[in-house]
Structures are given as C-alpha cells and as structure tokens.
Amino acid sequence: MKRFRQIFGISLLLGAGLFIIAADHIDAPEVQGGTSDITDFYVFQGKNTDNMVFVANLQGLLSPNATANASFDENVMIEFNIDTNGDNVEDLVIQAIKKDDKMIFVGPVAPSQTGLVSTLEASNFGNDVSKVEITPYGSPAIIGTSRDGMSFFAGPRDDPFFMDFAQYSAIISGNATGFNNPGSDTFAGTNVLSVVVEVPKTMIGGSGTINTWVESKRKQ
C-alpha cells in the first residue's frame, strides 16, 4: 500500500462526496433527521448469557434541551430482522411501534411476508404482544418483561456512538491531513431515542450465527 500514500490527499478529496455522517446518523436524504432515521444498531450477548440484546437508535444528535420534546412516531414501525439460515432473508422479526404512551412489541415471530412491506404480525391479536411504558426524559428507565423471558425498553438514552466526526470532515474536506490525538467525540453530550429488547437465544435460533439488521417502516 505504501506507494500510494502520497496521493491520499487527492483521493480523500475525491472521496469527500461519499461521507455524510456516521454511523448511520442522517445517512440518506429521504430519512435525514426524520422520525424514521435509524442512527445505530447493536446486537450483543446479555448479562444473562442465555439472552441476546437488540438495540435500535433513532433521531440522533438530540441536545439535552431537545430531548424532552423528542418522541417516537406512531406511524413508524421499528423492525429487527433475523435470518437464521444464512440466506439474508428474515426468518423472524421483532416489531416495535408506539401506541399512546407505550411501545408495543411483537415477536420474535415468522413474518407473514418478507421484504420492504410489513404488517404488524400480531396474528392472534393480544397474543405475542408485549408493552412497556415509554420512559419520559428525566425518569429512571422503565423496563417491561414478558413471561417468556424477554425485556423491553423504549425512551431517550445517551447516544452510545463515539467518533471524532468533526476532524474526519476536516480531513475529507482537505483542511486536515490526519486525526488529532487525543480526538474529540462529536457525539459527546447528545442523546438518541432507543428501543432495547432482550430475548432468550432459544427464541431466535438457539446457537450458530444469525444475520441481523434493523428497519424503519412507515404506515401507509
């Protein structure tokens, strides 16, 4: 790679158009800054190692002053997609949608159809549905649980993402040649709206590798 070092400055300028903001914060014009804008996605083993945790963050870069007034959109479904057989098509979904002051959760359940169009998969209305009160800004986290061992949270949280995005922008704009040390976390002091679901591994395939992604879908 070494002989290309000298043209990095040029290549970074050429690449400038590729970068808007990370990780998925404000990533595309259609959703930028709106209520369906997914900022980040995490999946990790829970404190109880029999469980997995799914995190979807939306509406990033909320200042503390703006956070109290930020809210989930009743017309936007947040859907965790889980592929258990390696074909990158969802075999299970966990859906979340706001209704009044609560977040409703459905699943994990096999979707009636895969892809870009969804319905809420509460086929036995009332069954498979869990709710948790959305935690108001400034209140302790309100945690919902289900009889089958799931946990639920919805509400504002500190944005767990960290990056010196400002310096990165300076580099790709040609105003800097590298990162600073130490860097400065552009996302420090900002909040997001989070949906967190903890689910027993037995409900999402049990063992092996799953492929996962999160979607936001708007009511038509």
Binding site: F8, V31, F44, L116, V117, L120, S207, K217, K219, Q220
Partner: protein, 209 residues
C-alpha cells in the same frame, strides 16, 4: 440507472396498491364490528371482541413500507454514493450484493487507492473485491455461542457491543494495510470510548444527558 428507476416505480406501485388494500381492510373491519354487535355472544366475549376491533382499527391492520435500514455501522454512509443512499435503504439485503458490490469496490478504491493494487489486502486478508463483497450485504453477523463483538483483536464480526470502537476498526480495515501499520494518522480517530459509562444491566445504554 434503469434498475433505480424501475425500483422507484415499483415502490410507487406498492404504495398505491397498499393504500387501496388498507381501505379494503378497513371496510372489512367495519363489517366485523357490525357483525359482532348483532350477535348474541355474551358481554364478556363482546367486550374482548370490541377490544380486538379497536386494535384492528389501530396500527394492527395497517401496511408499513420501508424507509431506512442498517446492519453494520457506517456502511451506507461510507460506501454508498450520494445519489444511491435512499435506494440502498430500500433494497433488501439479499439483493444488495448484486446491485451495489461494484459501487462499494469503486468507492473503496477511490478512498484507499492501494486496494487497486493486485493482491493488496487488509489485515483480515481480504482484497477489495472480497472485502466489499462482504460489506455490500449490509447485515450484522451475530454469534449465539459466545463473545459478541465487531472486532476485538481475536473475534471478528460476531456482533456489535456498545463499547466496540467500530469506527477505528473500519478505518484500520480501509487505511491500515495488511498489518494495521499503514497511514496511522488516518487509521484511528483517537476517540476510543463513549462519553458516558454503559450500564451492566438492562437496558445497558447510559441515561440521557
């Protein structure tokens, strides 16, 4: 370009079809409510059916159309060209590789030209085609059998933990060369941790500022 136009047209068609379908479902739901109110079921059943009908009138019978999606961090942001970002967000993962891998490779090689050298790889041993072939399908691979991390020096792509320094990992894989030693000023943003401690218990994310 044709594909893009077709996909947009398809989405518009889907929107129209489902707008109509929603009306049909709503009408059907109204009939159901009338039928129940005329039945001789006992009051308890009626009450629960009313509750069901009210749920049906809520979000449960609606159709939802995709607007945004995400698997791995920063993929759309870094590897998708500006005029394709919205399309990428409404392309199902199983079709992303076919539609976007060459764009990913072109953008990677523009960003980090060493990748254009035959045989050039990153520290995972992946050349430009293989690396972008992996990334273009934007799903997060997650192990159900142990450590879950984006990359911790040992485990690779077994999940994404809150504390994972995913940006530095991606910068290293883009700029760091075969042994993470190249372009050190571009390969680490030197922000290695969150500004607030994570919780050891659910919901794990720190309280808001």
């Amino acid at each position: 370009m044709k594909t893009i136009i077709k996909t947009h047209a398809f989405l518009n068609d889907v929107r129209k079809v489902f707008a109509q379908k929603t009306i049909i479902i709503a009408v059907a739901t109204c009939f159901a409510v009338v039928a129940f109110s005329c039945s001789k079921e006992d009051e308890i059943t009626n009450a629960s059916e009313t509750e069901i009908a009210s749920k049906k009138g809520g979000p449960f019978n609606a159709v939802y159309l995709q607007e945004d999606q995400m698997g791995r961090p920063a993929v759309n942001t870094v590897f998708v060209s500006s005029d394709s970002k919205d399309l990428f967000n409404v392309t199902v993962p199983s079709e992303q590789n076919g539609l976007f891998q060459s764009m990913f490779q072109n953008n990677l090689e523009a960003l980090s030209p060493a990748y254009a050298n035959p045989g050039d790889t990153n520290a995972l041993g992946l050349d430009a085609a293989t690396f972008t072939g992996l990334l273009a399908t934007d799903v997060l691979n997650v192990s159900l059998d142990g450590v879950t991390t984006f990359f911790d020096g040992t485990n690779v792509l077994t999940g994404r933990a809150l504390a994972d320094d995913v940006i530095t990992v991606e910068l290293l894989l883009i700029f760091g060369g075969e042994d993470f030693s190249e372009n050190p000023t571009l390969s680490n943003d030197n922000v290695d941790a969150n500004d607030k401690a994570f919780l050891s218990d659910f919901p794990y994310l720190a309280s808001p500022w």
